[in-house]
């Protein structure tokens, strides 16, 4: 576990620092120049001062945009971000967190840095009095740095401390808080604390808060271990898994999604870089630049990696260096799903689409995409396609699943490729017949329900165990889990509920009867019913009523919410159970006048069950009514 975390941590830090290993390896002479984002920014600002520009500097640092016009970002997107940020700075906005998500190298943080410089300076100039003017030299952005521990602070509290300190950067000191480097969110505890801190920020009673910007580079992580085949932060570093549903659904969070940089913009920027770096080009390369740029932009939406590739190509002497790879782009779940179901326009044939997909991304190596296909194949053309296509698709998925390797707990990659090809083939043949009339429109794709079901199973097992333990402690019967699943989960609570109803009626009846012999005979006849107690017996269908598990558009809701519910119910069940066994044993023991010798010293405090409060007053009349009928019933029986 530790080694895994270490690995993942490593992979994250390499991701968050966005250093392309390839470029490092290609340019060993610049070792240690850019180890982390922090340092990169420093060097960036230095180069702005003009003090330390080196000839061998990485181009993507050297030519990083100095002003908003140079930014490789769609104008509309920039305007969106500007509007939100402006509103947050001026305090007019209800948003407290701006969340920027997208793949690496799409100008997320750069846009924040540049915008904040402009907006914060404006704001300060407006608000500052002459007295405070000197402070305007303060940086307009404060970044969180997970490695910067001050002595004596605990690792877990580090982020919380940072937010606590940042809280007061308002008024004339106003600064934008940028979170780009995350605490170790792969550790569940740290992740939980991280989310808690953000929630505290969102719910903070302080009226004015500095704008908090989270820039999250989403990616899929190739997990070496196969422990979690489902969506989790270990395999999918996306905002759903990192931030959690509660944060995401809060109205104070504004999310703006960045797309990979489009071809036109990328082309423009690469050309600009070429012009600026003309003298650095290896002889003979300058003429071929157009071809190379064209090639690069086909496969890359990552400007940083594109510039690096350009630099390497331009400076290296090798003539055949046309096949330089840009940073491999990982395909997100929905992206991959879309390619498989609806095909891709980028490549000429479906064969290439799938080859690319299989080669490029860890996504295809897990079961998620397969589950996704099952969940989403019906979105194709809004379910309007013949049944035989569905049959073939599900059949291919089913066959692929039989190739699951139990010993390594992994699917063969061939077995995974099979359904992808089958799906693509089916749907491409379908499109040919349909496109003539009108282009097919599709429903929205969703996450698979697997996680939701898994949580429900957990809940069921918990409740079933609860039932089994009550059964054993109170009634002295043991049942196997299978029997509980198939029979008792339904019948047990049903019968007990009936008995409980009867008992309540009987209690009312008994209170109205004063004759002790009559009471005695009633009790004698209804012992079963009187043993039932709604505080201790399971009275609801174990695992909830049967119904359907609906599609979830929201991944996190399946993961996080149920998680908290589960832990709570576990606790409650456990407590209830202790109480159950003790009180029931005490009752029985009292009645027998022979307390169990190994009875634990019980806790005399008996918690009142909230649910019974509702019962007591509203239903009294019904029970009185029933009580009045009871004698007749009894007569019939005897």
């Amino acid at each position: 576990m530790a080694s895994k975390n270490g690995q993942l941590q490593k992979s994250l830090s390499s991701l968050s620092s966005h250093i392309h290993e390839w470029s490092e390896a290609a340019q060993p002479n610049k070792q240690g120049l850019v180890q982390s984002k922090k340092r990169r920014i420093d060097s960036g600002t230095r180069s702005k001062d003009g003090s330390s520009i080196r000839a061998s500097e990485e181009w993507y640092l050297k030519h990083r945009p100095r002003n908003l016009q140079d930014l490789a970002l769609h104008k509309q997107k920039l305007q969106d971000v500007r509007d939100v940020l402006q509103a947050m700075i001026s305090g007019e906005s209800e948003h407290r967190i701006l969340l920027l998500t997208g793949p690496a190298g799409c100008s997320k943080s750069t846009s924040v840095h540049l915008l904040s410089e402009e907006l914060v300076q404006n704001y300060r100039e407006k608000t500052c009095t002459m007295f405070q003017m000197r402070e305007s030299a303060a940086p307009s952005v404060v970044e969180y740095d997970s490695n910067n521990y001050s002595l004596g602070s605990s690792k877990l509290d580090h982020f919380d401390d940072f937010l606590g300190q940042s809280m007061y950067k308002i008024g004339p000191n106003l600064t934008i808080i940028l979170i780009e480097d995350f605490p170790n969110v792969f550790n569940p505890q740290t992740r939980n604390l991280f989310q808690q801190s953000l929630l505290r920020w969102l719910y903070s009673s302080q009226k004015a808060l500095p704008p908090l910007v989270i820039s999250l580079t989403e990616c899929a992580i190739q997990s070496t271990e196969t422990t979690s085949s489902f969506f989790s932060v270990d395999t999918q570093f996306i905002c759903e898994t990192v931030l959690g549903r509660e944060v995401l659904s809060h109205p104070g969070v504004k999310r703006i999604k960045y797309n990979p940089i489009n071809k036109t913009l990328l082309k423009k920027h690469l050309k600009n870089v070429c012009v600026k770096e003309r003298e650095a080009f290896f002889p003979g390369k300058w003429e071929k630049r157009e071809v190379f740029i064209k090639k690069i932009i086909e496969h890359c939406g990552d400007i940083r990696s594109a510039i690096s590739a350009l630099q390497l190509w331009a400076k290296s002497g090798a003539q055949s260096a046309f096949d330089i790879d840009t940073r491999e782009q990982s395909v997100s779940y929905f992206h991959g799903l879309g390619k498989l179901l609806y095909g891709s326009k980028d490549t000429d044939s479906d064969n290439n689409t799938i080859n690319d997909l299989m080669a490029s991304t860890p996504l295809t190596q897990s079961d998620n995409l397969k589950l996704g296909i099952l969940e989403n194949y019906n979105t194709f053309n809004r379910q309007e396609f013949p049944l035989s296509y569905a049959v073939d698709i599900v059949d291919s998925l089913s066959m692929s699943d039989t190739m699951y390797n139990w010993t390594t707990a992994q699917s063969l990659s061939e077995s995974l490729e099979f359904p992808y090809r089958a799906v693509r083939q089916q749907f491409s043949s379908l499109v040919v017949t349909n496109t003539k009339t009108d282009p097919p429109s599709h429903n929205r794709t969703v996450f698979p329900r697997e996680g939701k079901v898994r949580n429900l199973v957990k809940k069921f097992v918990l409740e079933a165990n609860d039932y089994m333990l009550v059964e054993l402690n109170k009634y002295g019967n043991s049942h196997s889990f299978r029997d509980v699943v198939l029979c008792f989960a339904f019948y047990g609570p049903l019968i007990r509920k009936r008995l409980n109803f009867k008992r309540k009626a009987l209690i009312h009846f008994l209170e109205s009867v004063n004759d002790s012999t009559e009471q005695k005979s009633v009790v004698e006849n209804n012992r079963d019913a009187l043993m039932v107690n709604d505080a201790t017996d399971v009275l609801d269908r174990i695992g909830g009523e049967m119904g359907i598990v609906s599609v979830s558009h929201d991944l996190a809701s399946a993961e996080e919410v149920n998680h908290t519910v589960l832990t709570n119910s576990k606790l409650q069940n456990f407590r209830k159970l202790q109480e159950t066994s003790l009180t029931s044993r005490r009752q029985l023991g009292d009645q027998n006048n022979s307390p169990d010798p190994d009875d634990e010293p019980f806790d005399p405090i008996i918690e009142s069950d909230d649910s019974s409060v509702n019962f007591s007053d509203d239903d009294d009349e019904i029970y009185d009514l029933l009580a009045s009928q009871s004698p007749r019933k009894r007569d019939k029986m005897t």
Binding site: L371, L374, N378, Q383, E384, L387, S388, A390, V391, V394, L397, S398, M399, D401, T402, E450, K452, L456, V457, F460, V461, L469, E471, N473, Y475, G476, N477, S478, S480, F481, R482, D483, V485, C487, F488, Y491, G492, I495, I507, S516, Q519, K520, N525, R527, L530, E545, M546, I548, V549, S550, L588, Q591, S608, S612, V613, F615, S616, D617, K633, M637
Partner: protein, 384 residues
């Protein structure tokens, strides 16, 4: 403290003073309440009862036993009754312990072990893939501990016997992995002086031959419809259920396919739902998941389209969420379909595809693909 709770307290106090003697014994569902506790009380299959009685005459020579037969036929009841005849009613004093095991990958595993002074029960499905570890650890512990008692308690006839060997009941023995069965085989030989195994399973097909050869195989057949109905009559009489027409009991018995547990539970819930009075027209109460599968079967035959398939998937997911084994789902669904289909060719197709996907369920990892695959195939076949 709520008022209802208060009433409970008052009532309890009155119980304590007035009817103390009356409320002894543990009440529960009828299926448990009327479970035969001794060999003499066993109802159906007298031949088997005779065999068990003869086993209990010479308890020292008790062999390892392997009970096999369908669910609800009374395997466990017979096994416990046998133990009762050997050890006395102490075997029904159950307690539950939580034991901890460590897997080779250093994962902690907690397991509830139900035991009495004379036996203990384990259920392999609780332990998942680590059953070999659990079997080895637990049995070694039991086997080695008993040897000490064996020395001291050799004197008294029954006392000595009680300590001579301890019974280990393995529920659902057919879900033991091959590994665990191999480990068990070794244990059976090595500690046969201290441990007797009683294994319960539905089908012997997944038991390895060495285990089968070391056990006395006891087939436990399901009660016939008549025997089931008789059992219901007996319970109904004691619980003062008015049965206006015996036909309803036959209906219950038939719907339960020889599963006495299911029959009794159905009977009790029907009785309670109808003021302890059953008529021939009383509605049968089936388990909700069975009803869901029946409805699904009808839907498959009526509405054969992609959208219907998608809706079936939502239902399948809920069945799986309620831990209904995929094998049971496909089985029930296939039988429900067979009942509803009239075309013979379609029937053959249903059986054929059910067997194909049943095998894939065993080979595969995620049941949902195969269940949906089966439904899709059936829809396609019926479409023609």
């Amino acid at each position: 403290m709520t008022s209802i709770f208060y009433k409970d307290e008052v009532l309890l106090r009155e119980f304590n003073t007035n009817w103390k003697a009356q409320l002894t014994g543990k009440m529960s569902l009828w299926v448990d309440k009327y479970r035969p506790k001794s060999l003499d009380a066993l109802t159906h299959t007298p031949r088997l009862t005779h065999l068990l009685k003869s086993l209990s005459v010479e308890p020292r020579d008790l062999p390892h036993l392997l009970f096999y037969g369908p669910n609800g036929a009374g395997k466990k009841t017979r096994c416990m009754a046998l133990l009762q005849s050997i050890f006395g009613s102490g075997v029904y004093k159950l307690k539950i312990d939580v034991r901890q095991f460590t897997t080779p990958s250093n994962r902690k595993l907690e397991l509830n072990v139900v035991s009495s002074p004379y036996h203990l029960e384990i259920t392999p499905s609780d332990m998942g893939n680590n059953d070999r570890i659990v079997i080895q650890e637990l049995l070694k512990e039991v086997a080695q501990m008993e040897q000490v008692d064996f020395q001291t308690a050799s004197g008294a006839e029954t006392g000595g016997l009680a300590h001579r060997y301890k019974c280990v009941i393995i529920n659902e023995a057919d879900s033991l992995t091959r590994d665990a069965q191999a480990a068990l085989r070794r244990t059976m030989e090595k500690y046969s002086r201290n441990i007797r195994f009683i294994m319960l399973c539905e089908s012997m097909s997944s038991m390895i031959a060495p285990i089968k050869s070391r056990c006395l195989l006891v087939r436990t057949p399901a009660p016939t419809t008549q025997e089931t109905a008789d059992a219901l009559v007996k319970v109904g009489g004691q619980e003062k259920v008015t049965v206006e027409d015996e036909a309803i009991l036959n209906t219950i018995a038939e719907s339960c396919d020889g599963n006495l547990r299911k029959a009794l539970l159905t009977f009790e819930s029907m009785a309670l739902n109808n003021e302890m009075c059953l008529k021939s027209s009383t509605a049968l109460i089936r388990a909700d998941w069975v009803v869901v599968i029946l409805k699904m079967a009808n839907r498959i035959l009526k509405d054969r389209s992609v959208s219907s398939l998608v809706e079936c998937r939502a239902t399948l997911y809920d069945l799986l969420a309620h831990c209904i084994p995929a094998k049971v789902i496909i089985q029930e669904l296939a039988f429900a379909l067979l009942d509803a289909i009239h075309n013979d060719n379609h029937k053959i197709a249903v059986v054929q595809w059910a067997s194909v996907f049943d095998e894939r369920l065993r080979l595969g990892n995620k049941p949902i693909y195969h269940l949906e695959g089966f439904i899709a195939r059936v829809m396609c076949e019926v479409d023609g």
